[in-house]
Symmetry: C2
Subunit: 421 residues, 2 copies
Amino acid sequence: MLQIRQQRFLDNLSRQSQFGRLPKSEGGGIDRRAFSTEERAVRQYFCQQAEKASLGIAIDAAANLSARYPSADPDARTLLLGSHLDSVPNGGSYDGALGVWAALEVLSTLAESKIDLPVHLEAVAFTDEEGRLGDLFGSRALTGGHTTETIEAFLKQAAEFPDDFEAMRRTVPGALTPEAIRTARRSPQSLAGFLELHIEQGPQLEKAGCQIGVVDSIFGRRSLQVQFFGRSDHAGTTPLHLRADALVAAAHFITMAPEILQQQFPNCVLTCGNVLVRHGAYNVVPAETAVWVEFRASSEDVLQQIEKALDRLAGNITAAPDLSFAIHPKDQLTPAAMDDSVQGQIRQVAQELGYPAMTLSSGALHDAKLMASITPTGMIFVPSKEGRSHSPAEDTESEDLVAGANVLLHTVLRLCSRSKA
Amino acid sequence: MLQIRQQRFLDNLSRQSQFGRLPKSEGGGIDRRAFSTEERAVRQYFCQQAEKASLGIAIDAAANLSARYPSADPDARTLLLGSHLDSVPNGGSYDGALGVWAALEVLSTLAESKIDLPVHLEAVAFTDEEGRLGDLFGSRALTGGHTTETIEAFLKQAAEFPDDFEAMRRTVPGALTPEAIRTARRSPQSLAGFLELHIEQGPQLEKAGCQIGVVDSIFGRRSLQVQFFGRSDHAGTTPLHLRADALVAAAHFITMAPEILQQQFPNCVLTCGNVLVRHGAYNVVPAETAVWVEFRASSEDVLQQIEKALDRLAGNITAAPDLSFAIHPKDQLTPAAMDDSVQGQIRQVAQELGYPAMTLSSGALHDAKLMASITPTGMIFVPSKEGRSHSPAEDTESEDLVAGANVLLHTVLRLCSRSKA
């Protein structure tokens, strides 16, 4: 049975993880933010490795970088594989990068084997997934999701890093202007699907002893600011039972919201990530406190139920004299279901290759979330040690990395044989 | 029976409350911070009213301003009455001011009645009680409590408001230098005691239907920063039961600490006044959260017991994997007991005058706290409507203001008759 070239793959993964590597004194992680010198360098390394494997190179007007293994049929549709090469400021070796290098390895293996496919195959590194200038920028461009506002916001951010931005523009002449960005859109008819291999960034596979995760959906997300209002009083002179303390109300919310979630929405997550006390001081009873909360679930319906439950909770907490609350919605992202049929193929491949697998949802956002809006999309997860991610502690066993790449390879072959049939 | 001149007293209180009065659009309270144009103006008005009552004026090297009604005996000790004329930025009409104007009224009444006293009587307005440049600055100088550090800190703050500071210096030639400030100290032997009439700034008298409060102690105060440490995790990918959330731990502390206080230390107060989440964001499980907490009690022993209870509480909350805490003491102020004998005199005067009275502690800090360290000191409270203070809503009924001034007058007479005996 065909397998990826394990040594080449692991070597590439290891070498790529030196681009942007910080000294121990600065955290020891990877700083390879989109458009940085380090990210441009790893893109260069990607091109060299693609050329070594006799693959073609392409870069679109949103700076999405691809290696290509074309079908003999010039009218074939394109099956995309990939993820991103940019990182968060002190990130890990595999978030994004694994999916790109595994995609390149799959194309290299197939090219070496001279297997003719009924689809063009493309290993893509999407631009700025982590959102240094605009989150999911590259996949948003490819899926035609940009608006005048998202492009303006992107260019405004770009103006904060003019050297990096201009350096990237020089490598892709004519790209990254408002007009050009819109031309990066691909028509759904031209695509056969999208597959993304990624580390889980959570602990579920490790806890369950599974090497492969079949993603059924990417969670939707809502974020709110919940403001609590009370009465400012002198901290020395106001007995506790006569206070209307906005911070104590907020604290009840912060302790009880996760409890409600665990009881009523056990597969979802909720985080209170920040608290702001207005005029915070030792000696004043807080009159106003804002809690930043976000929650994620696999359907709009559940997101709405959670929002209602939080509204009820805040209402119950403030059902006392001089206390009140207000909820301000901030951001919202719809959930994305992965293609059922693609899920089934991944599951069967894992079984045939003998890798224990389980189905799970992705709490994190990925390029696959946007790709799912225009083409049948699947995601494959491999375990993250202790669930750590966006951190230098991010790690995955070599055998799991290889398992993920082989599952990707054989899912491509299965989708192609179906495509032929 | 001798009484203060009610109309003059209330007129003065009303007129003085126009100095620094903000327009409604800016809060409608009083902004009469120490050294400001407005505070200098109200001091001027105080001097005019003192001169009208044929009282002497004195100002010391810390800018403490006094009206004097001397005893016929030049070797007599001095009984001080007073409080402060400065306010917080958007404060009320009576905090501090009531004690100064009542003191002036008592001296005026006695001077008019040509009553000879065995003590020099002095109505003092202490400098900068509210701490624009240095809290309790004037009473600290008078009681010899300044150190090189407190004076340096004061002058450093003064440099932020050079115009105000120089204007005050011009009104008190030679004052407010490091050397001069130390000369404002009075010897305990020269003093017969200190009495301060003040609004309660809390709701206890109003709730109990009492016009007079006899203060038994001024609470001591400790402030701490309690830091909670957890583990930073991806808010989308980490199941709730696997998190070590520093903010949730902090929130448990914020809800439970006041409960412990109410159960175990019912006469004390505790406030969590601020929370700081390190790298607060919607999508990151907080790894570090600091809570600012302060608590007040009438004895060192109880303060220590509360601190121990908080330490135990934080320990119990963080008794889970990857959670921990650290407590950093910030500030501490010892409690001050009011003189037992003076308390007894105030209580008897209230009874004789027919004012319902109760004993209570002061949760707020006052000049009397420092004065108690060098001379027998008593404090008289009158009710604050709804306990409001440091706010434009600060208010007290006229009859309570008058009651307070009359109790002050007769406490002086009682102390003098004791002093004679």
